[in-house]
Amino acid sequence: LARGEQRDLVQGTLHMLILKTLALEPMHGYGIGVRLGQISQGVFQVNAGSLFPALRRLERDGLIAGLWQTTENNRRAKYYKLTAGGRARLKQEAHDWEMQAAAIARILKVSS
């Protein structure tokens, strides 16, 4: 992982990224963090102090559901999966994000 390129997440995007990660397959907390790092090619490193509160909030809001399952190493871990509400929320947030990002990109192109 390219440490020098690490960035803080844009405020409020962690929830969306977790939802997106879980849309691919159910995962436990560590897996989510690793997957986010991999997909962003090391740009985003989510530590436990941000990840678990986010998971708790998403679970509270009924967007993801946690279930204790046996891992491949035969231990028990809490796997999170997307709920129907979470899927809908992801769709909407992704749409909003794309709109905003496109608008910001247009503005930056004009001013540079």
Binding site: H28, G29, Y30, G31, V34, N47, A48, G49, S50, F52, P53, A54, R56, R57, E59, R60, D61, G62, T71, N73, R75, R76, A77, K78, G85
Partner: protein, 316 residues
């Protein structure tokens, strides 16, 4: 709808977290432990020794207690818990210094009490409207002197008539003077508060009698027999009538000579009116909560007070 569902979810899970606090805590511990274990394995898989991997994983994760704090803060129940903790702490501190607590409580009690009292007065005097129709159109007229603007002297009847004739902005004008009269003829004498008014005061205020009539313009004539309008509480109060409904009572000015009032029952009944303002429970300056006599405006003097006032029998 979605927001409501989310809110309900949050409330429910927060409540669950409070009720099953130890289970939620255990689960979080297990989850974080598993996170750490997986991290160690992950690092060992990439070639670290177990000791190095464990150290690195711990360093990445940071303080487990801090992570748990962050997670707890994600729900509303942590706010409730901290408020509850603070409240208990405050209570313990107060119990530790009872003298200070007593002073504080007394200070607060006095402050709140004084505030309530002042506001009650302000409410009754300033804020609550008079119990009459269109109270915003009622005004009190008093003569003001430039030298002493705060004193309001009584006015004479001719002055009142002048005001009445010359005013353009007042639709209708009535005058009154408050006095104490002696009520005799039945058991113990009483000294009810009476208000001498011009006959139009009732129509001006929009007050209608419960029984009988209020005053007519003719009652204002100096030669007319004195007519009395009783307030409803006075009328209903058996003490006012000595327990008898067939009594003749006399209402006289305390300083004036008096004659026994007499009259036939029919005539009597005609003069006997109960009057109630639109809300009899709330008295105000004009609320006839005492017997009212109609008489020519006397400006507070005892002109005409030698006349007998007829306060005929009252039949319930």
């Amino acid at each position: 709808m979605r927001a409501l569902t989310a809110l309900l979810n949050r409330l429910a899970s927060g409540a669950r977290a409070i009720l099953s606090k130890s289970r939620v805590e255990r689960e979080l511990d297990a989850e974080l432990q598993e996170y750490l274990n997986t991290a160690v394995e992950h690092k060992m898989a990439s070639g670290m020794s177990r000791a190095d991997a464990t150290r690195a994983a711990r360093a990445e994760m940071g303080s487990v207690a801090a992570v748990k704090d962050h997670v707890r803060d994600a729900g509303w129940e942590s706010t409730v818990e901290s408020v509850w903790r603070d409240a208990r702490y405050g209570l313990r501190l107060l119990l530790r210094s009872p003298g200070f607590t007593a002073v504080t409580v007394i200070t607060l009690a006095l402050g709140i009490g004084a505030n309530t009292a002042v506001f009650s007065v302000a409410h009754a005097v300033l804020l609550r409207s008079l119990p009459y129709p269109e109270p915003q159109r009622l005004v009190a007229l008093v003569p003001a002197q430039k030298s002493q603007p705060s004193t309001a002297d009584p006015i004479s009847y001719p002055t009142f008539l002048d005001w009445h004739e010359q005013s353009r902005s007042i639709e209708s004008m009535a005058a009154y003077v408050v006095a104490q009269s002696a009520l005799t003829g039945l058991g113990d004498a009483d000294a009810p508060i009476t208000v001498a008014v011009t006959p139009n005061v009732f129509s001006l205020l929009g007050a209608t009698p419960l029984a009988g009539r209020t005053l007519l313009p003719a009652d204002g004539d100096a030669r007319a027999a004195r007519a009395v309008v009783l307030s409803e509480p006075f009328w209903r109060d058996p003490i006012s009538w000595g327990g008898s409904s067939r009594s003749t009572v006399r209402l006289i000015r305390s300083s004036a000579s008096c004659r026994r009032a007499s009259g036939s029952p029919t005539r009597a009944r005609r003069h006997n009116c109960g009057c109630r303002s639109s809300n009899s429970a709330r008295s105000s300056r004009f609320s006839p909560h005492a017997p009212l006599r109609s008489c020519p405006w006397s400006g507070g003097s005892s002109v005409g007070s030698a006349c007998p006032r007829r306060l005929p029998r009252c039949r319930r």
